[in-house]
């Protein structure tokens, strides 16, 4: 009896004292360096990434190990397989991974209340605040629910950061330009004529028939090769399927515009004169790439990242003149190619912490760390001494390493460089860190160094040092108060979603029909197309979307 009594007194005293110990510690002031208070105990966080795949989501490479060393966090990355998203299952079962990047399914999880609000953390999240700067309000969800659930993806560049890559869509082979003495090709007519002249002069290339202009309309690629170039040719910026008046901010489905119709009339003409590849609307992406690699396609209207493989292959087999130069071709001189317009950071989806996370504080600490300068340098540049060295206080990537990163398709998987930037908070291209160096590995020098011999020749002939010099400058355009229009989240169950889907399906069907029709029939086919669009209430879609954009601008200005 006595023993138990003494024991229980001792126990109580111990318990009470340990409780007291917990009380007095928060007198510490805000730390100077983040590493001082960083909890580095090992923890594994599960992370579902809608864009992950078997090659990029193993977390076993050198950069991943370094991340674990500096934060204690090991990520177990899951991703969709077989095209099926696991998000509906998560919502049904009520169990989520700790972190999630749900992209298109994000609104579903928000409605199912699966994400925790990050508002209470944002005050102390120094790195996140610094990275997003004035864009911080853009992390909010919507006007009805201005909570911040995610820390958004895609590089964040403050307004005024120079844009280095125009991302233009009209490409033509260097060989064609050289052969004609580097003419000034401004309008579609001049562009088309240049292609036709070369085609007639050289009916075969590398033993195969020359193709003038080839498109790849396989699946979603029609948006890039058939849909977007029309907007680009009439001076519309990269807003996807929308034409937005920069003064009134009113939105319209861009295919309704009469000038867009003229672009497709031009394509129709290209088809009638035999310049357009007859297989454009039936070929698969692999066939298209093979054609480009064979060097016989003179022109394409495509985005550089789409055919990067073909460019790399052509470089390897030393046929640089068969790669492409990008030109700001427009319908006629009164339009300005808007590829260099600064659309600002678009907000949109990002990484969120779910309600199933047992340690949200730690998860938030990790996300905040990913936004820190040291993390940005680690994920972009790699490990010092391995992927880059410090020379005179500046980060330098050796030529050999750069070559490897450009030409070795497994570079990312093996080293981890560039794998963990997206979808986490990321500094954009051209943004400088406190030491005056760029966060991302791209510099004007690296971009020009990576031009192949044909590109350098072409640029010199036009008096430019970089591709962007050939394009109307960023300063000539107004910035957008709502980011890139296509990044606007459209509520799942709205009329707009349904109308837009029907409209896009109709466009994907009718536009090729119009292009392949006989020139005399073009107007008829096009008018039928527009009539169908009007029937599915495309004008209402325009008004609805305008309202969404206005809401977004309002939400972000708070």
């Amino acid at each position: 009896m006595r023993k138990t009594k003494i024991f229980s007194i001792l126990l109580t005293v111990t318990l009470v004292t340990s409780l007291m110990a917990g009380c007095g510690s928060s007198k510490k002031s805000e730390p100077v360096a983040t590493t001082k208070t960083l909890d580095k105990s090992p923890i594994t966080l599960t992370f579902y990434s809608a864009d992950g795949n078997a090659k990029s989501s193993n977390f076993t490479d050198a950069v991943a190990k370094e991340i674990t060393k500096r934060t204690g966090v090991t990520l177990k990355i899951q991703y969709p397989v077989g095209g099926t998203s696991k998000v509906p299952l998560m919502i049904a079962g009520g169990e989520y991974p700790d972190l999630i990047y749900a992209k298109g399914d994000e609104s579903k999880i928000v409605s199912a209340k699966g994400l925790i609000s990050l508002d209470k953390y944002l005050g102390k999240a120094e790195n996140i605040k610094k990275l997003y700067g004035t864009y911080l309000p853009r992390l909010k969800d919507s006007v009805d629910d201005p909570t911040t659930y995610t820390v958004g993806s895609f590089g964040v560049s403050p307004i005024g950061t120079e844009i280095w890559t125009p991302g233009g869509l009209f490409q033509i082979q260097h060989a064609v330009l050289k052969d004609q003495g580097y003419p000034k090709l401004q309008t579609l007519k001049e562009y088309g004529d240049a292609i036709k002249t070369y085609m007639q002069k050289y009916p075969t290339i590398n033993g195969q028939k020359t193709i003038g202009l080839s498109l790849c309309a396989d699946d979603w690629r029609w948006l890039i090769t058939v849909g977007n170039p029309s907007g680009s040719a009439v001076g519309l910026p990269g807003d996807g399927q929308w034409a937005i008046d920069p003064d009134t901010n009113k939105a319209q489905y861009k295919f309704m515009l009469p000038e867009i119709k003229e672009y497709y009339r031009w394509l129709n003409g290209m088809n009638a004169s035999g310049v357009l590849d007859p297989e454009s609307f039936t070929q698969k992406f692999d066939q298209y790439k093979a054609k480009l690699t064979s060097g016989r396609v003179l022109a394409i209207s495509d985005a550089g990242w789409d055919y990067a493989d073909a460019t790399a292959s052509l470089n390897k087999i030393n046929q640089q003149e068969r790669t492409f130069a990008t030109l700001p071709v427009v319908l006629d001189a009164k339009y300005k190619d808007a590829s260099m317009k600064d659309l600002g950071w678009g907000g949109g989806t990002g990484v969120a912490i779910t309600t199933s996370c047992n340690n949200p504080d730690r998860a938030m600490q990790f996300l905040d760390w990913m936004a820190s300068d040291e993390a940005q340098i680690l994920t972009n540049w790699g490990i010092e001494g391995v992927n880059y060295t410090i020379v005179d206080g500046k980060r330098v990537i050796s030529a050999a390493e750069r070559q490897k990163s450009m030409n070795d398709p497994d570079y990312g998987t093996d080293t981890g460089v560039g794998l963990y930037t997206y979808p986490f908070p990321q500094r954009g291209q051209g943004v400088k860190d406190p030491t005056g160096q760029y966060y991302s590995t791209a510099t004007t020098q690296s971009i020009t160094d990576n031009y192949n011999s044909a590109m350098k020749e072409t640029l010199k002939a036009y008096g430019a040092t970089m591709e962007k010099d050939m394009y109307p400058k960023t300063s000539e355009f107004k910035t957008s108060p709502f980011g890139a229009a296509w990044m606007t989240t459209i509520p799942q169950d709205s009329d707009l979603t349904i109308i837009l889907k029907k409209a896009d399906d109709e466009s994907q069907k009718s536009i090729p029909k119009a292009i392949l029709a006989k020139p005399a029939d073009f107007d008829k086919v096009w008018d039928e197309y527009i009539a169908t669009l009007k029937k599915i209430e495309i004008e209402k879609a325009g008004t609805d979307f305008t309202k969404l954009l206005a809401d977004k601008s309002q939400l972000w200005s708070k």
Binding site: D51, N53, A54, K55, S56, N58, Q78, V81, G82, G83, T84, K86, P88, L89, A92, G93, F154, G155, V156, I163, T165, G167, W220, L223, I224, G238, G240, D286, Q287, K289, A290, T293, A303, G304, W305, D306, D309, A310, S313, K316, G346, N380, S405, P409, Y411, G412, T413, V417, G418, Y422, Q426, G428, Q429, G430, S440, T441, A442, A484, W486, M487
Partner: protein, 300 residues
């Protein structure tokens, strides 16, 4: 006499031609996959490889076997395990059910058969099935590969039809000799059903070997639960599946590498690795398979 001979000859020729055509159409893609798997991956991009590798290399296979992120041994082990265990339990269960339903003196025979037929056409869908597995605590367990698929009613029908064609006198005489139901089932009926059992076993085995979707849906600790087809699917999936608009945004904002892509040659190589085991097993069960398919031809 001469006329009949000619007719048969023409018919034979036509059948031959059709068969040869079918053989080419089914065999060619496979040969193409083999050729691509032995071709150097950088060369494959150029296209134009049909029956023979242009630049022969064993590098693709080497890369797959040495890839630290591809748990081939574990996946192979799991695939074999679930095929063997799954087939075994499925066959036993289906046979037992078929025997019960083949007995004409079973009171609920018609009713039960009808209920089962309904299950062939009506299913819960992805989310209800997921919730069911969750509530049965099968998520993340190896048995999720075996238990849900135990009874495929189509298999039961096939076995039952076969059993129905066995002469009832066999069972009657066994009963007269004092055998109980279980003895009749195991010692008399089952041995006679070997052809149809082999058929069902083959179907089940192929189904188990090829399934990856249940791994994806119900697997928790995927490292220990993975199987070969799932690994293959993951690799086949790493194409530029990210939508064009994401790519545009990334290119604009300077991402160097996003979604590295598996080369076609690697995909073909792992396809071959996953297909070869089944190819090896098939010749041994082939004779049973053909016999089993000609069910009606067995005369009591």
């Amino acid at each position: 006499m001469k006329k009949i001979r000619k007719k048969i000859a023409v018919f034979d020729v036509v059948v031959m031609v059709i068969m040869v055509y079918i053989v080419i159409v089914t065999l060619y893609p496979f040969i193409n996959v083999v050729a691509l798997s032995f071709n150097d991956s950088n060369d494959t991009v150029k296209g134009g490889i049909y029956l023979w590798p242009r630049v022969f290399t064993l590098g693709n296979y080497k890369e797959i076997f040495s890839n630290p992120n591809l748990p081939l041994v574990r996946a192979g082990f799991n695939s074999v395990l679930r095929t063997v265990v799954g087939t075994f339990f499925t066959v036993i269960s289906c046979c037992m059910l078929a025997y019960t339903l083949s007995r004409r003196d079973y009171v609920l025979r018609k009713f039960v058969s009808m209920v089962f037929v309904v299950t062939m056409y009506v299913g819960g869908g992805m989310i209800p099935s997921y919730l069911l597995m969750k509530n049965l605590h099968l998520l993340g367990s190896f048995w999720v590969y075996i238990l849900p698929g135990l009874i495929g009613y189509f298999n039961v029908i096939v076995i039952r039809s076969f059993m129905d064609s066995l002469p009832p006198s066999l069972q009657e005489s066994a009963r007269l000799d004092g055998a109980n139901d279980f003895v009749i089932f195991s010692k008399i009926v089952l041995p006679l059903c070997i052809p149809v059992i082999a058929t069902v076993a083959l179907w089940t085995a192929v189904g188990q070997w090829n399934s990856w979707f249940d791994t994806y849906l119900y697997g928790k600790d995927l490292l220990s639960m993975t199987n070969l087809q799932y690994e293959l699917k993951k690799i086949l999936d790493s194409t530029q599946a990210t939508s064009g608009q994401t790519q545009t945004a990334l290119a604009r904002n300077g991402s160097l590498i996003i979604n590295p892509v598996s080369s076609d040659s690697i995909k073909m190589a792992i396809t071959i690795i996953v297909t070869v085991p089944i190819l090896l097993v098939y010749p041994f069960v082939q004779k049973y398979f053909i016999t089993g398919m000609t069910l009606g031809a067995v005369k009591g």
